[in-house]
């Protein structure tokens, strides 16, 4: 499947965390949290892929493993054909400039002792890309303006605790965009922004994509956002891909029972529209000691004979539209 036009190819990637002994004291065998459990997909150059799925399904772990912020349990990730798990430190450092991660929780990654200018300019300094202080300052200011932190000079000297939640999140975005990467993995980058600023930031992201031929992997739990920014959608469930395909195909004609439930639960900004929601029973399971057969089975309303025995594998139901489910 991998072609020249594939910028990133994720191949049977797994990331299992070992649970500390004693946490599940009844079990002397080591247990694993199978956060990412056999995920494969290709990202076309200048494409934008949205990855969605409920809390705890492994989205953040997938992103961190793709960037090699954690080592994988198995599998490979090819960036322009090169396996990133075989790269040396120098190659990795160059890669990290081309491939940026916008972290989910800005509170975690933004050092409270630094001012906004330092936080946004940090990457340029680390990679030795600043020409001189003045140019650096100007670039930071224009990056702040891009994410609508205006007047930028007023924000530049503040510390993180002097900003609102959404303002911090935009600092995280500016920090990545300023490096002009080829590929951005954005982990819930606009979750804290209101509709208007979110729209501007998403428009900025799509504009940059066209101008600079940027590629996006956009992680979100919000399908309305996914639809807005992505042209291809991947739905994850407990560490695996349940369904993937062209955005409109998946949203308008979801095939997997889990995707159907997700789509039916999307809120609509109109208090007079009543909709039938498919409620999923049960607490989201954790990817520890998964049941045999389909991992969605405990919450599925359409269980068939095969579902109890083997894990369904992705098969193509329409052009480019793949589903991991036995039910037709």
């Amino acid at each position: 499947m991998t072609t020249n036009d594939t910028i990133l190819s994720v191949q049977d990637l797994r990331k299992w965390f070992t649970l500390r002994a004693g946490l599940f004291s009844f079990n002397r065998q080591p247990s694993y949290v199978k956060a990412v459990d056999g995920v494969s997909f290709d990202v076309p150059r200048s494409g934008s892929i949205a990855i969605a799925g409920e809390s705890g399904c492994g989205k953040t772990t997938l992103a961190r493993t793709i960037l090699r912020l954690v080592e994988p349990t198995s599998g490979s990730v090819l960036y322009n054909g090169e396996n990133i798990y075989e790269m040396n430190r120098l190659e990795l450092s160059e890669l990290r400039l081309k491939m940026q991660l916008i972290f989910q929780n800005p509170f975690e990654v933004l050092d409270p002792r630094h001012t906004v200018v330092d936080l946004v300019g940090e990457g340029l300094v680390i990679h030795g890309l600043q020409e001189n202080d003045e140019v650096l300052h100007d670039r930071v200011i224009s990056a702040l303006e891009d994410v609508r932190l205006i007047p930028a000079e007023d924000f530049a000297t503040r510390y993180t605790h002097e900003l609102s939640g959404g303002q911090l999140q935009r600092i995280a975005i500016a920090r990545s965009l300023i490096l002009k990467p080829e590929l951005i993995i954005a982990d819930e980058p606009v979750s804290m922004l209101d509709a208007s600023i979110r729209t501007e930031v998403m428009n900025l992201m799509t504009d940059l994509q066209k101008e600079k031929e940027l590629t996006y992997i956009f992680i979100t739990h919000d399908l309305a956002q996914a639809r807005y920014i992505g042209d291809y959608l991947i739905i994850m469930y407990l560490g695996r891909i349940a369904e993937m395909g062209p955005m409109e195909d998946v949203i308008q004609a979801p095939q997997h029972p889990y995707t159907k439930a997700l789509v039916s639960n999307i809120p609509i900004p109109d208090p007079t529209v009543e909709r039938d929601r498919i409620m999923l029973e049960g607490e989201t399971p954790t990817p520890v000691d998964l049941p045999p057969g389909c991992r969605f089975k405990p919450r599925c309303q359409e269980i068939g004979v095969y579902c109890k025995e083997d894990e369904p594998i992705l098969h193509e139901v329409a052009s480019g539209h793949w589903v991991a489910c036995y039910i037709e």
Partner: protein
């Protein structure tokens, strides 16, 4: 009488010598069993409004004027100690970051027991029993009280925080973006839960979010903030269907949806307001397509246009936004 009455509340932050008017004249009521959804763009003062009511502002923030009464008691005049008694017992807040709300090295149940015992003179055993009941109420297994925060999923932590917020039987719950970090399925479960608990405990709820679809589906009333002002308030159907303020109208139009054709979203042109240097007159006038000269000169009054539906616009009720809503 309303459980919570906020009148002309103003809160400023100080950055060196500069004064930042984060909240500047906000008035609203919340009755028992009703939910007011407070929405508006990032940085418009939603969290500051909540923190002012609870009096948990950052050190460089001060309530400059206005009044906040809870069950008839004026909160802005209480001593710090009196205010501490009100917090949790009469009014609880659910913070946005579930992850940061609990101490990571203490068992979750333990932390809620401490909150209860600090406010109510109750024995250890009674408090543990109360926590069990609350856990059950929010859909958590009571035996999970002994878990540490990292053993909970995001959705479970959020429920534990709601249990903690309910621990002392409050009259008011403030929820600051309680579901932003959660997927829609968990979101809807938590919102359903809040609604049930609201009826059962006669709660007044202040629900802060930037997500208008969540407001549309879950709040009785809606308040829209812009640059520290409340620009419109009314019941949800009126605000969504018959917006009185051009900003509310625009904000509602900027929301992505999965129904209807996919389109490039319209956003509000112009710069977000500079709180350190606000425009004269109506704060929205530089971005408002309907602005007249009066809008530059005079601050519009916050007036009742139709019964229970207020707006802060010189032309509220007279504007035709076109396109029909």
């Amino acid at each position: 009488m309303a459980v919570l009455e906020v009148r002309d509340l103003a809160t400023y932050y100080y950055l060196g010598k500069k004064e930042l008017k984060a909240v500047d004249g906000v008035s609203f009521d919340i009755e028992s069993r009703r939910t007011l959804g407070l929405a508006g763009e990032s940085g418009c003062g939603k969290t500051t409004t909540a923190y002012s009511i609870m009096r948990i502002l950052a050190e460089n923030g001060k309530i400059a004027r206005g009044s906040v009464t809870l069950g008839g008691v004026e909160l802005t005049e209480l001593s710090d100690e009196e205010m501490r008694q009100i917090r949790w017992k009469k009014a609880s807040i659910v913070f946005q970051y579930a992850m940061n709300a609990f101490n990571p090295v203490l068992r979750i149940g333990r932390q809620i027991v401490e909150v209860i015992r600090e406010k109510d003179k109750m024995s250890e055993e009674e408090a543990v029993l109360t926590v069990s009941t609350l856990f059950d109420e929010v859909g958590l297994k009571p035996e999970r009280q002994t878990d540490y925060p990292h053993e909970f999923s995001g959705g479970m932590l959020q429920r534990a925080i709601i249990a903690q917020a309910l621990a002392c039987d409050p009259q008011l719950i403030i929820a600051d973006e309680p579901v932003t970090a959660l997927d829609v399925i968990v979101q809807n479960k938590i919102l359903d839960l809040l609604r049930k608990l609201q009826d059962k405990y006669n709660l007044a709820v202040l629900f802060i979010t930037h997500d208008l679809s969540v407001v549309a589906e879950n709040c009785h009333d809606v308040g829209i903030m812009y640059a520290g002002n409340l620009v419109e308030v009314g019941d949800a159907a009126s605000v969504f269907k018959k917006s009185l303020h051009p900003y509310s109208y625009k904000l509602i139009g900027a929301f992505p949806s999965v129904v209807g054709p996919k389109k490039r979203l319209e956003f509000i042109p112009g710069s977000p307001p500079n709180l350190l240097n606000l425009p004269t007159g109506c704060k929205f006038h530089p971005r408002c397509p309907f602005a007249q000269s009066i809008c530059k000169d005079d601050i519009p009054e916050f007036r009742e246009i139709t019964s229970g539906h207020f707006a802060k616009c010189h032309f509220a009720g007279e504007l035709d936004f076109g396109g029909g809503q």
